[in-house]
């Protein structure tokens, strides 16, 4: 099949799945619904592999003109190059595994068909996001994934206790994303004004040909793009929605809020690398925001007791990590970490899903413990995931993190140190999570204990596959030290505009050795520390009230939510009420009423003139005549 047909088929598959399930899913048996949704995903993945195999140059597929007015031309057009192929593989690959997992996980849910419809729709939107050849298409997908995210976070909207809360979490996610979208939109407008087009290629070629806009313009465009990215990829200041988004079913967290959608911001920056390369101020901003996010989220994750919340903050932290890399121009390193992160974070989330499934939807890690006996496959895979994210030597996370750290070292030692601390914290809280959940004694009630069971094959199989990927994913871009040839660097650089021009940082073997040594030591140290604290001393996280100092700050997420509430939400609600009460009701309405009142009062006055007595009528008539006479005399 030609590449354009392949791509179109890939694009159409999830849409077809969504259509079938959306219209008929209610009457179909669950197994059929799930199989259709998952089936299309696997086929899409297979086709994506074909694309990967056959494509070496950037290819464009023109669909139709969305808007064509005089100078303005916005097209529905697709672009297949290294970057989008890589994302395509991640989205369809990880996506199909998560679909498979969901078939088991959501089995009891009455909204089964809806769930799969939304999942397929999400994949469709995500594919548009990554396959579009211009920022306009990207924006289409960008908002599209936002909707699906909204729908899926609030999936259990009619839950007795949490229904409204789920809805509010979903709304929060959507609105925070919208704030970011506004930034992205303005970036689009600026680009249209500056370049007259939104095609990546045309913008990129103009820039690469040296046709640079003014520094402020570039700064504005890139900054606005980055604001968009902070919304979608949960960076400071728009990150608080992501932990709340854990209200959605766990596969959703794995798919959308770990592996795919949240990486859209990174994808955007990588896609626009040619712009960012010429906007050093923005790069600085990205660097520091990423750094702060990474450290802060890692700190917050330390004291979370909800299994998914830990992973959520971990995601935020990792994304921050990646943004640091972007801020330093390490685009390939960033994509490398995106890829490995997709593997192990999806694995961890699905693993947590399996745990939650076993625990009858209990998410508090204080009520778990010793689960390794009951759910062995989940245990092993989760352990692999933990090791990978902690950066234990030779697992996928080790390599990808190492590349970013190499960039940091090359850039600035202080940044390197801070990132190393962040990585250390990551390892600590991840091992804390692992030990508290899987080691020690079970702390839940007997009823739950009685029902603890390993998940069925359709749930464990994705875990196993992802575990394998987490183990070996680092091979994608193995440094030369281990006989690798930076395959990903070459693959991306080959056909993705701009990436071939950017100088990747590759340290010498000795430096690499040193870096890896430090990283290994840190990870192993964290492992040891957590082991001592949580297994040897068998300490269980305290309940929230007992926490003091830093721990309390961590558990309460630095009070950022409260801060935002006080800074934005409350004032806006107050302004809304005040506007309605004072401006609308007391001023504008009264103003209009005032007009009518004046008229009414004058009506009252004039009425008094009419007395009903003939003599007064005659009097006024005489007055009128006299008046006319006076007028005449005065005038003439």
């Amino acid at each position: 099949m030609a590449i354009d047909k392949l791509i179109l088929t890939i694009l159409a598959l999830p849409l077809i799945g969504a259509l079938i399930n959306g219209t008929m899913g209610k009457s179909l048996p669950k197994i059929v619904v799930g199989s259709i949704a998952t089936g299309v995903m696997f086929v899409a993945f297979a086709l994506a592999v074909l694309v990967f195999n056959s494509n070496h140059e950037a290819t464009f597929i023109h669909l139709f003109k969305v808007i064509h007015l005089d100078d303005l031309e916005l097209n529905a057009r697709l672009q297949v190059d290294g970057l989008s192929t890589l994302m395509l593989l991640i989205v369809t690959g990880v996506g199909s595994l998560i679909h498979l997992f969901s078939m088991g996980y959501m089995k009891e849910d009455e909204g089964y068909y809806k769930f799969f419809t939304y999942l397929n729709l999400f994949i469709f939107a995500m594919l548009i996001l990554i396959l579009g050849s211009n920022y306009f298409m990207l924006f289409f997908g960008w908002e599209g994934v936002g909707i699906c995210s909204y729908l899926l976070i609030g999936f259990h909207y009619s839950d007795k206790e949490k229904g409204m809360l789920n809805g509010i979490a979903a709304r929060k996610a959507f609105i925070m994303n919208r704030i970011g979208d506004l930034g992205l939109l303005i970036a689009l407008f600026l680009m249209l004004m500056q370049f007259g087009t939104l095609e990546y290629n045309e913008v990129g070629n103009a820039i690469l040909a040296g046709d640079l806009p003014s520094g402020w313009m570039l700064f504005g465009i890139t900054l606005c793009l980055f604001i968009g990215a902070t919304g979608k990829s949960a960076q400071i200041p728009l990150f608080t929605w992501l932990p709340d988004a854990m209200a959605g079913p766990t596969p959703v967290s794995a798919l959308i809020h770990a592996a795919t959608m949240v990486t859209a911001g990174i994808f955007l920056v990588v896609r626009s690398n040619f712009l960012f390369e010429h906007a050093p101020q923005t790069q600085e901003i990205i660097l520091y925001i990423g750094l702060a996010t990474s450290l802060m989220a890692a700190f917050m994750a330390m004291r979370q007791n909800d299994i998914k919340k830990v992973l959520a903050y971990s995601t935020v932290s990792q994304l921050g990590f990646i943004f640091v890399s972007l801020g330093m121009g390490g685009y390939v390193a960033a994509m490398f970490h995106v890829t490995t992160h997709a593997f192990f974070k999806a694995l961890l989330f699905l693993g947590s899903g399996s745990v939650i499934h076993a625990m009858h939807h209990e998410q508090d890690i204080r009520k778990m413990g010793g689960l390794k006996k009951y759910i062995p496959i989940t245990h092993i895979t989760f352990l692999i995931g933990t090791c990978a994210i902690a950066g234990l030597p030779f697992l996928s996370g080790f390599f990808s993190k190492d590349e970013i750290l190499a960039h940091a070292l090359h850039h600035n030692v202080v940044i390197y140190v801070i990132m190393a601390i962040s990585a250390l914290l990551t390892a600590i809280y991840m091992f804390r999570l692992y030990f508290v959940v899987f080691q020690g004694e079970f702390r839940g009630d007997d009823h739950t204990k009685h029902h603890l069971h390993e998940s069925p094959l359709n749930m464990t199989l994705p875990l196993i596959i992802l575990a394998v990927l987490s183990l070996i994913g680092g091979l994608l871009n193995v440094p030369s030290l281990f006989g690798g040839n930076h395959w990903l660097t070459h693959y991306l650089g080959h056909s993705t505009l701009g990436l071939n021009k950017v100088a990747e940082v590759h340290l010498g073997d000795s430096q690499t050795m040193m870096l890896m040594g430090v990283a290994s030591v840190l990870a192993l140290g964290a492992l040891f520390f957590a082991f001592v604290k949580f297994v040897k001393n068998n300490s269980v996280p305290e309940s929230d009230e007992q926490l003091t100092g830093w721990a309390k700050l961590s558990a309460n997420k630095l009070y950022i939510d409260e801060l935002y509430n006080a800074l934005f939400v409350k004032p806006i609600e107050w302004i809304s009420a005040a506007l309605h009460r004072f401006v609308e009701m007391l001023f504008l309405n009264r103003l209009i009423d005032g007009f009518t009142m004046v008229i009414d009062l004058s009506g009252q006055l004039v009425r008094k003139w009419q007395t009903g007595i003939v003599s007064s009528y005659l009097f006024w008539m005489v007055t009128g005549i006299v008046g006319l006479m006076v007028y005449y005399i005065v005038k003439f």
Partner: protein
Amino acid sequence: MDLYLIPLAFSLLAALAPANLVRYVGLTGALASLVSVGVHGAYYMSGWSVVLFEPGQVTTFGLTFKMGYDGISLLMVALVNVVTTLILLSNLNRETASLKGFNALVMLMQFGLIGVFTAMDGIMFYVFWELTLIPIFLIAYWYGAPERKPALLKFFIYTFVGSLAMLLSLIALGNYADNYSYESLVTVELSAKSAFWIMAGFFLAFAIKIPLVPFHTWQPDTYTLSPMAGTMLLSALMLKMALYGMIRWMVPLAPEAMQDFTPIIVILGIIGVVYAALIAIKQSDIKRLFAFASISHVGLIAAGIMLFDKEVLGASLIQIINHSLVAVGLFLAAGILEDRLATRELNQMGGVAKLAPRFGFWFAVIGFASVSVPFSSGFIGEFLLLKGLYGYCWIIGLIAGTTLVFGAVYTFRAYQLSMFGAPSLESFKDLQWNEVLSFLIISVLIVLIGVYPQAILDFVGPSLDKLIQSTQADITILP
């Protein structure tokens, strides 16, 4: 002529039909009109100006009776006929639909609206403009909520006074022109001062009808207390007359005053966008909330129109269509809730989505459309409008852009408070076929336009070119 005669004839027919048939008479009439406009559309070649009625004789005071359409008008007429059909269809299972008066008035309203959009003579425009006021007033007055009277009094007087300002402008303009036909009014050359006052008169009429902040105080109460069909007519069609009036009459007739007026209207529009959105955030009455939302949305369109280039005008037209469709959908949802829960208070609702999944689904679709997500017509419209405003002045564009955020806040608040949570009721009657069909048609149209807006842009493009040329030519003549 069929465009006028069909609604008029069916209006009469509905007034005389037997009671058990009357609801179908109305719907048949709307469908027949739809077919007739479809035929006109099929024969229409982009860029034509079609004359429907021209007796060729001018009365002593300059009335020419001229009626006709170009691409823009025909698009609006099509919108009127589609929306009227939708309104009658969505009301089909309601008590109002079985009333002769209701059907007759809706058809009369349709007649008036078609007249407004096809008038090629200043006086005829005014005549039809005012003609629409009576049916909508009666619909709201006869079938509205019990406490409606003061609100409707205010509505009528307010809009009537606005129209009088337009009348003054027409009288003043007629003073300079040979007659009131559109061509001769457009070619009038005005001094900057008289152009300013003439545009001011038109603006007052349109600003009240749209309504723009601060001329909007009649709107929330009227929308809230009108019956469902009345609110739909008001928001989906009536206010579009004013937006159309800005495009067709206000700016082209006195383009000399554009320089002075553009900032005023743009700023008022943007203030409205933010102000109404902010107020909508805390409203607890669902219809009132949507009423303020409507003010917020149309403020953006009005601001965009004043930039008067092809992009924003095209976008405005798309957004006009989008807003009409969305308004019908939203007020249908609000009407269903009000009807079946016997309250408009959001705080007393909840859990409906669980009891009525079909309703939950379609309400969500319309909700998304109203926050202009991609694949919906609102997205294209808002994208281009914001782009235009951003190009005009970046701060204004930025402020206008907040509509994206606030829109999501209040729409989802309304949706979630009513639909989410645990059900508080035993049961909730899910959508009936006519309601589902209405939602379906609305959604399909919204998605079609959202994915391929070029169809509409091609349809109106040449007419827009002509319109813009005529205004620019006018400006350059006078220094």
